[in-house]
């Protein structure tokens, strides 16, 4: 009996999967045509997509970039053989002629470098905060100086204005250090704030005009009335976002505080602001304040709007962060206490890093909401992109153009909001220390 058994001594090489289950075909089979019902749905979806695109794509690809009026656009469309009716094609001439206005409003054109520089430097200033592991740590000093550079670049004026504003903080800090060492912390804090207020309200004005007469360095001032378009939206958005986060943290902590007056002040502020629509606050800023102030007082309209939008964003931010605080187990607070940390150390080292991480999606969606809410200022007569779209339509050449303007504005807003949203996802992944 021959004992010849067939035993394979080496593995067969892997065969490629059958073409019907690999590559594009395989993917399509698995995801699109995996059964008669799914096949049907896929075909129906394709039909819908085709109809939508066949309406939109020719509209977008209309050869009207050089048009100088709606009538001319229509002639160009007719010449190009496209249907010139309402849905026939876009009139992109309006964007070509007005996009700079939509970006900068009425800002003097020879000074466009200033807002551009302000926003480029903003990216530099944000880098150490947003991407702390990728840039030199020293850059944080620039971030600290940036809040003073930003208004100076946009509004112009003597260089001594922002310097003296910054000096107020330095003075407050010095006074705080000296007094708190000789007396108590609280007296130091109060004294520091008082001295800073005296500096800002009384002395800094004198110092600025004195320095300016000795050494007049500065940029050409630009009035707030000249601000408009996306520059206005971004300015309001950035200021509101940058101020509302720290203020919101303070409010959230104040709301959880054991100090009764602090607690009820914070609760009252948050509930009042959240209970009032933003548009009401803007009307207060634009009309009521005007009536309260004596005739002839010129309290900058954009400053008023900035304050109101910041207050509004702060109230929402405080509640988002309170959510993060509430999500922390009690053990974290007790652990911090057991380490002998005082209140501020515990907040800084234990509580806030965790609470803020939990709140990131909420914080970013509040940011995005605030940025989009800036378009409401068009209702009080500021020419933000939406207000400008109305002003552009009031030009007899462009009267009747709707979709092109709104589409362009929507696209730009989408870019900013999508960017913020992607960053928040990146940040969540980076800080992912979860227990999964």
């Amino acid at each position: 009996m021959s004992d010849v058994s067939f035993v394979r001594t080496e593995m067969l090489p892997e065969k490629a999967p059958p073409p019907t289950s690999a590559g594009a075909i395989g993917w399509a089979r698995e995801n699109l045509f995996s059964g008669w019902f799914n096949t049907l749905l896929t075909l129906a979806s394709l039909v819908v997509v085709y109809y939508v695109l066949s309406a939109i794509v020719p509209w977008i690809l209309s050869p009207t970039f050089s048009g100088t009026s709606l009538g001319q656009c229509r002639e160009m469309l007719a010449a190009a053989g496209q249907e010139s009716g309402h849905g026939g094609g876009a009139c992109w001439g309006v964007i070509r002629e007005r996009w700079i206005q939509l970006m900068f409003g009425f800002y003097p054109s020879e000074l466009y470098w200033r807002p551009i520089a302000a926003f480029v430097l903003l990216a530099v200033a944000l880098a150490p905060i947003l991407f702390s592991d990728k840039v030199p740590a020293k850059l944080i000093w620039f971030s600290a100086a940036y809040p003073f550079i930003f208004p100076w670049l946009l509004w112009g004026g003597a260089v001594w204005g922002p310097i003296s504003a910054a000096a107020g903080f330095v003075i407050a800090f010095v006074v705080y250090r000296i007094v708190s060492q000789s007396m108590s912390d609280l007296i130091g804090l109060v004294g520091g704030i008082l001295v800073a207020l005296i500096w800002w309200l009384v002395l800094s004005g004198i110092a600025v005009s004195a320095l300016d007469s000795i050494l007049p360095i500065g940029l050409e001032p630009v009035e707030s009335r000249k601000f408009g378009g996306f520059m206005l939206s971004i300015t309001i958005g950035i200021v509101a976002i940058a101020c509302s986060l720290p203020l919101g943290i303070v409010m959230a902590l104040g709301r959880q505080s054991d100090l009764m007056i602090v607690k009820y002040l914070c609760v009252g502020f948050i509930e009042f602001i959240r209970g009032v629509p933003l548009i009401t606050l803007l009307f207060v800023a634009s009309t009521l304040l005007n009536i309260f102030m004596p005739p002839g007082t010129n309290f900058d309209i954009i400053l008023r709007v900035l304050i109101m939008v910041t207050l509004f964003a702060t109230a929402y931010m405080a509640e988002v962060i309170r959510g993060g605080l509430a999500a922390l187990p009690k053990g974290q607070y007790e652990g911090a206490d057991s380490l002998g940390l005082d209140y501020w150390q515990a907040q800084r080292l234990i509580i806030m890093p965790q609470a803020l991480k939990i709140s990131i999606p909420g914080i970013v969606s509040t940011f995005i909401g605030v940025f989009k809410d800036t378009t409401l200022v068009s209702i009080i007569g500021l020419l933000d992109p939406l207000g400008l779209s109305n002003a552009i339509r009031a030009d007899a050449n462009w009267n009747g153009i709707v979709w092109e303007l709104y589409g362009f504005i929507a696209l730009l807003f989408f870019v900013f909001c999508f960017g913020m949203s992607r960053y928040s996802m990146y940040l969540e992944r980076k800080l992912q220390t979860g227990h999964r």
């Binding site: 206005q101 009425f106 800002w200």
Partner: protein, 338 residues
């Protein structure tokens, strides 16, 4: 520094509140700029061009006043106002003059404490319908759907008109003129009603303007004019007579082309008084002798301003109609310069 200015202003506010306003004219001269309230954009009446320069029929009134008072028609700060912010902006002193197609009504003049200094455009509410509807009079609109801007006097006028004619309608509320155009073209309403000047401007943007007709009925009086605050009569006089100078200039044939020549002196004493070669009219206003000359030279007389911004050769294409001189059967009638 901004903050110190603001807080300082608040402190000062407490001290000076209630103090009477110094003359607006002194303020304007000290500032070197006229703060003029305009709309955020209305075809033919006020709109910024691609360079951010404001142009339009109402804008020309601002420029004429600035030219008369400050000698420079570009010394104007245009403050865009909405229908909701315009009156507070004027009352609070944020603007010196409101030239924003605002209808002169009793309550605005008396109750809101403003002073309408004249009328620069006589408007009225009209109706636009598609030709295919086969309607030739607003009284045949029984049961029609009407696009109407909410919160305006046009809404009230419409209700009055339909009630007094005992016919019914269904309102389609809309917020802006742009929205109205879209809704009307999409067939969401049979009729669009707003001021006749606005209807003409809207119709001009249509693909086929001939397919739409404006009905003959004008159902309201909308005298639009510039206004100032109550109680500062010197300033009110300056604005009133700057406007009158534009209107009278048309009547006497003074145009931006021939004004230099006429300013050398003519046989017509009225022209001489206006242009400052005779009499002391400028001095009485607190201005120099050539105030009216500058106001007219800025953008021409009333007819020139009308023709350039909203006249029949522009896309808006309005006929003079009620806005012709009284000598031509219109309502424009400037009091004598004497």
């Amino acid at each position: 520094m901004k903050k110190s200015v603001f807080l300082g202003a608040l402190t000062v506010a407490g001290l000076t509140a209630g103090a009477a306003v110094a003359g607006t004219m002194d303020d304007v001269k000290a500032r070197g700029k006229l703060n003029c309230g305009v709309t955020t954009g209305l075809v033919g009446f006020a709109a910024p061009d691609a360079n951010g320069e404001w142009k339009g029929f109402d804008v020309s009134v601002c420029r004429a006043v600035a030219a008369a008072v400050l000698g420079d028609q570009n010394a104007v700060e245009f403050v865009p106002t909405t229908g909701k912010t315009r009156f507070t902006a004027l009352a609070s002193g944020e603007i010196d003059l409101l030239a924003r197609n605002t209808t002169w009504t009793f309550s605005r003049d008396v109750d809101l404490k403003f002073e309408f200094v004249g009328v620069n455009y006589y408007d009225g509410q009209g109706f636009m319908v598609p030709k295919g509807l086969g309607v030739s009079s607003a009284k045949e609109l029984d049961g029609a759907t009407v696009c109407i801007q909410t919160g305006t006097t046009t809404e009230l006028n419409l209700a009055d008109f339909f009630r007094s004619n005992n016919i019914s309608y269904e309102p389609v509320p809309i917020e802006t003129n742009a929205e109205a155009q879209q809704q009307y073209l999409a067939g969401a309403c049979d009729v669009y009603t707003t001021d006749a000047s606005g209807l003409a401007a809207t119709r001009a943007t249509f693909e086929a303007p001939g397919d739409h007709v404006l009905l003959p009925e004008i159902i309201s009086k909308e005298p639009l004019g510039p206004l100032v605050r109550h109680g500062d009569n010197e300033w009110g006089d300056v604005v009133r007579w700057s406007l009158n100078a534009l209107i009278a200039a048309e009547e006497y044939g003074i145009t931006s082309a021939n004004i230099e020549e006429l300013a050398k002196g003519t046989n017509n004493p009225e022209i001489n008084r206006m242009l400052g070669t005779e009499g002391t009219l400028g001095e009485m206003l607190g201005l120099d002798a050539e105030w009216a000359k500058r106001a007219i030279a800025a953008n021409g007389n009333y007819a020139e301003i009308f023709a350039k911004n909203i006249g029949e050769d522009t896309p808006v294409g309005l006929a003079r109609g009620l806005n012709a001189q009284w000598t031509n059967g219109g309502l424009l009638y400037a009091p004598p310069f004497r």
